[in-house]
């Protein structure tokens, strides 16, 4: 009885449960405010938007899990870079898709590795390093695209993201599920995943069992870049064309989605299922706020306050006097 009770309490207090409950509640609010909000096609639409955020947040997730104030603020510019590169590789042609995916994933991956090297070996704090990298990528994008990106999405890609593939569900949602499966497998069944949790939970202990802490930390920033680049491909598929700051709007939500999903900002605890739920909840929240006709400023303030409130729950530091 007692253990059952405590199990139920644990389930109620679980961030994943909270995120799912919040999503449902927000859907209901949306439906009340504007009938039709929770319609099937509308939900698919919301999930499509959530999927792009979810893919970016996958990278943000492992970076935050890895601890030591891990955060990747360069994901926004890396999404833009991925989108612009993919657009140029495809140029509206279906035959360009494979190359687009390779280039738009590969180059952000390499840039992410540079982030990781700066953070691990030069010891620049993650936030400053990735913010500095953002400026460089934005500069690079201006040079590369001469200010106005020229490429366009291939019809096949746009259809894959915007049109139903089977059962009224677009292809991107299947991709998201596949990415989720990979994330869950890596985090739960591979030594790399175990090591990410280990360095995030206790870097000292991880060193003391002989884990290659620096290599792992460098790699996770690389993977964050990879996910951002792939999200960029999705973004251009979703919108058809791109502009050089198209990814900026994903930076803050990617961090919040991870934290809502129960991943601790201190690292070492959390997982991708929660982050997925967080991405969905956040997307619905955004949609509700738009339905409410809330201004940009109010949405921004609500986002900031959400993050502060989450810090109160999960992100406090230790006291000095015992």
């Amino acid at each position: 009885m007692n253990s059952n009770q405590s199990r139920i309490t644990a389930l109620i207090a679980d961030p994943l449960t909270i995120a799912i409950a919040a999503s449902v509640a927000l859907l209901l609010i949306g439906e009340i405010l504007s009938p039709g909000f929770a319609q099937g096609t509308q939900i698919v639409r919301l999930l499509t938007v959530a999927a792009i955020l979810g893919i970016v947040a996958a990278g943000q997730n492992i970076v935050i899990l890895g601890g030591r104030e891990g955060i990747d603020l360069s994901v926004g510019s890396l999404i833009s870079l991925g989108a612009v590169l993919a657009g140029n590789m495809m140029n509206g042609q279906n035959s360009g898709i494979p190359l687009a995916v390779i280039v738009a994933g590969g180059i952000p991956f390499l840039i992410g590795l540079i982030n990781g090297i700066g953070i691990t070996f030069v010891r620049i704090p993650p936030l400053v390093m990735t913010l500095g990298m953002t400026a460089v990528i934005q500069g690079g994008l201006v040079v590369y695209s001469q200010g106005v990106p020229s490429g366009a999405a291939a019809p096949l890609l746009s259809g894959f993201i915007n049109q139903p593939l089977v059962f009224g569900i677009p292809g991107i949602l299947f991709v998201w599920v596949a990415i989720a499966a990979i994330m869950l497998f890596v985090l739960r069944r591979t030594s790399f995943g175990f090591a990410i949790y280990a360095i995030g939970s206790n870097e000292r202990a991880a060193t003391l069992v002989g884990l290659p802490v620096q290599l792992i930390r460098t790699l996770i920033y690389g993977f964050s870049g990879l996910f951002a680049g792939l999200a960029g491909v999705c973004v251009i598929g979703y919108t058809g064309t791109s502009f050089i700051s198209v990814g900026d709007q994903y930076v803050l939500p990617s961090v919040i989605a991870v934290v809502i999903g129960g991943t601790s900002l201190a690292g070492g605890a959390g997982g991708y299922l929660g982050t997925m739920a967080g991405a969905v909840a956040l997307t619905i929240l955004q949609s509700v706020l738009i339905t409410l006709n809330l201004d940009v400023w109010a949405r921004q303030v609500i986002f900031g306050l959400t993050l502060l409130a989450l810090m109160l729950l999960y992100g406090r530091q230790k006291k000095l006097r015992v």
């Binding site: 069944r189 591979t190 030594s191 790399f192 175990f194 949790y197 280990a198 939970s201 206790n202 000292r204 202990a205 991880a206 060193t207 003391l208 069992v209 002989g210 884990l211 290659p212 601790s264 070492g268 605890a269 006097r321 015992v322």
Partner: protein, 497 residues
């Protein structure tokens, strides 16, 4: 005459651990008072309470007869109590002068009066004239100074407060003979001015040379107070030890065996030339007061704090240990007593906490819990660990059971050399017994075990041989019937047994 300081019935609990049950200390005006006791007897906690750095759970502190209640180190300082911090409170980036006056700067209007402070600092440094070596001046950056000079700065920081009561907790640990000598001369001069000193030291010689009175603590309780002149070393050691323990019959491992581990002339920040051999099947105990080099030796062997000089031989070959992964690949295992800091992957499952070392050693890429769990379960069950399931978070276990998990982590790798760094710190008696049974079992299976314990009784009961550390060196090697608590305590305080 009222006493400078009186502490009566002081108690302190940290979580479930009782550090002090009845701390008592009476220090007269203008005396040097030694506070002695074995590791974990509560002397450091008592000092920190008197200095306002730790809040007491109960009890009264009086200064010059009046009750005082300190909320912070600053409160205590205002009342005239200054504490020397064993873990240095210096700021490496600041100069000697800035450190000495940190938080109590001399001012000229709103500005820091650098000239006056520098003048004062140089006066203070002059106290150690001729013994402090070169390079110690008011403008030197503390981070650039060698350990002995840093310790002198920390001492000067206490002197600068012109306190009525100074607490010197192992203030001479990093000083050489001449520096300590000078330090005691200064204390005697201060005594003449009416300043009292409470001294914690790991050198019994010092205590008998300079202290007027001695308070002995044991297990969180003040046992006796006495005048130094009317007591003997034997009495003091016996009071610290309590019931004298002697080892039971010990097997002589050295006869006819080849050593598995040899360390020659090892140096690091806190060990100064340590050589030793250890044998397969042997449990080698390391004893002495805390921080005398025992942990540093184990960390050096494991590569987490590598030796700066010296050589390590293991299983008939020289080995290079530069980082922990080198040690893991050589079949070494290290279990720390500081579980929270060095071992626990907090928030992760018991399973993950156990397989961490195994996956490094076996270079596993993919982990199938279904394959590993039976094996992991067996190791954990051999240790009589009580847990609801391998998927429960590590934090759901008691301290003792957690420690068993961290030992299981290494047993899963079948280690050839097991380094245990005060592994029983803060765990219950039942768990301790299980742990020692397991150590013996591993030793019988051919592993070499080196274990440091802050509790001498554990060493006497479970080690086959003991090395006692004092000031970064081995001060005695005890075997067979020589392994008594009295001999260990004497060697720990720097007296040859």
């Amino acid at each position: 005459m009222t006493n400078a300081l009186e502490a009566v019935g002081i108690t302190k609990t940290f979580g479930a651990v009782r550090a002090l049950t009845d701390g008592r200390l009476t220090v007269a005006r203008g005396e040097i008072h030694a506070l002695l006791g074995a590791n974990g007897c509560g002397k450091s906690t008592l000092c920190k309470i008197v200095a306002g750095a730790v809040a007491p759970t109960g009890g009264t502190v009086r200064m010059a007869g009046a009750d005082v209640r300190f909320r912070s180190p600053r409160d205590a300082e205002r009342a005239g109590v200054a504490l020397f911090y064993q873990e240095l409170s210096l700021i490496p980036q600041l100069s000697v002068c800035e450190n000495i006056f940190l938080g109590r700067e001399l001012k000229n209007g709103p500005f820091a009066d650098r000239k006056a402070m520098k003048h004062r600092a140089n006066d203070l440094i002059a106290l150690f004239d001729g013994v402090c070596g070169t390079g110690l001046n008011a403008d030197a950056v503390v981070g650039d100074l060698p350990p002995d000079q840093r310790q002198i700065v920390e001492i000067l920081k206490v002197f600068a407060q012109d306190a009525k009561v100074m607490i010197m907790d192992e203030a001479t640990a990093a000083l050489d003979g001449r520096q300590s000598q000078r330090f005691f001369e200064i204390l005697k001069a201060k005594k003449a001015e009416g300043v009292s000193t409470i001294m914690i030291s790991h050198r019994l010689d010092e205590v008998f040379a300079v202290c007027d009175r001695i308070t002995v603590m044991r297990n969180g309780v003040t046992i006796t107070e006495m005048d130094t002149a009317s007591t003997t070393r034997e009495t003091v050691v016996h009071d610290m030890v309590g019931d004298v323990r002697a080892a039971a019959e010990k097997v002589d491992f050295i006869a006819g065996r080849a050593p598995s581990l040899t360390v020659e002339n090892a140096f690091s920040a806190s060990i100064r030339g340590v050589s030793l051999v250890a044998y397969p099947g042997e449990i080698l105990g390391l004893a002495g007061l805390q921080g005398q080099g025992q942990s540093a030796l184990l960390k050096g062997l494991f590569g987490s704090d590598p030796f700066t000089a010296g050589s390590i031989g293991f299983a008939n070959g020289a080995v290079q240990i530069r980082r922990p992964s080198d040690a893991v690949m050589n079949g070494f295992a290290y279990v720390s007593g500081d579980r929270g800091r060095d071992s626990a992957f907090q928030g992760r499952s018991i399973f993950e906490n156990i397989v961490a070392a195994l996956m490094v050693q076996k270079r596993l890429k993919i982990i199938w819990p279904s394959q590993l769990k039976p094996q992991v379960n067996k190791v954990a069950e051999d240790l009589k660990t009580k847990f609801a399931g391998l998927d429960m978070p590590i934090g759901t276990l008691s301290g003792g059971n957690q420690q068993k998990i961290f030992i299981a982590r290494w047993l899963a790798t079948a280690p050839k050399l097991l380094l245990l760094d005060d592994p029983t710190k803060g765990i219950d008696l039942g768990a301790k017994a299980d742990l020692f049974a397991l150590m013996r079992q591993q030793a019988d299976a051919g592993a070499t075990i080196i274990f440091y314990s802050s509790e001498d009784s554990e060493i006497i009961d479970y080690a086959d041989r003991v090395l006692v550390f004092n000031g970064g060196r081995i001060s005695a090697e005890l075997k067979g019937t020589d392994m008594t608590s009295v001999n260990i305590t004497r060697a720990a305080y720097g007296d040859a047994a």
